[in-house]
């Protein structure tokens, strides 16, 4: 299946959770990333239970300013 992460197409072999996607995408500090799934905020507590579906659009938004983009 194909999803979009920050505007880029990503091919996934099987359905995975948002938590796994953060690992696949090598997000370094997932606890400080804001996640939007199809234009809705997903709270960090729901990363594990949220399954990614074909065609989903995911945005990882990072802290920036006064520190490194996490």
């Amino acid at each position: 299946m194909i999803v979009k992460v920050n505007g880029n197409e990503v091919v996934l072999e099987k359905a995975i959770s948002l938590k796994e996607l953060l690992v696949v995408q090598q997000v370094r500090t997932p606890e400080y990333v804001t996640v939007q799934l199809n234009n809705e905020f997903i709270s960090a507590g729901s990363f594990e239970d949220t399954l990614i579906k074909d065609g989903d659009e995911i945005e990882f938004l990072y802290f920036m300013g006064g520190g490194q983009a996490l």
Binding site: Q36, N39, F41, G65
Partner: protein, 268 residues
Amino acid sequence: MKFTNEQMERYSRNIILNEVGVKGQIKLLESKVLIVGTGGLGAPAALYLAAAGVGTIGLVDADAVDLSNLQRQIIHSTTKVGKPKVASGREAINDLNPDVNVVTYQEWVSSANITDIIKDEDYDFIIDGTDNFPAKFLINDACVLLHKPFSHAGIIKFFGQTMTYVPGQGPCYRCVFLNPPPPNTVPTCKEAGVLGVMGGIIGTVQATEAVKYLLGIGELLTGRLLVFDALEMEFRTVTLASRKNCVVCGENPTLKDLIDYEQRACEL
């Protein structure tokens, strides 16, 4: 208000624009913009707003000019090293455009002073040019509570991002990022570095948003986050979700008092 011949000439490139005109230029000259931080972001924003003829510009910064600032903070110059940044900024602005009334606040923003500073001249628009998360959340909360529009921005390394908050017209910074990351979880820009032009690119976007807001033209970055990657040379605008339960701008706000988060100083 009547223009002098000199002003007609100075602002001719603005005035010739249909969207500005004489009326718009008068609006700008009667406008007041507060710039918090005269560093990488605030410096170019201040210069362009001054050049455009924004009549009153407030500068907030407790710091003095350091040699290491000059790689990006283009409002300051070599002869100003050691001088308070707000004084250096005022001189640069008035060299560029003596029409501008510069109001200086040589202090760091905190819950104790930010409301008074914003109310001091009843600023029309605020630019967040700060370098740390406690200040960014403080500016957000103060602007939301005072119903003031502002431009948020952050830069690091080769990246930058910015969004505009206008009361009632989309999410605030806290809607997107909830709370500052704990101190020491993030290396400072002093450690991570930042390409000098990042402040120029993002700071001038902030100045553009201020001018557009003051003139009431175009589409602002409300409900959108502009993300810039200089290595890929790519701009993206991310449509932001809304957070009805935001503690400061949501339907039932619980945050009524400003918060001073633990600070870790960092020079943008």
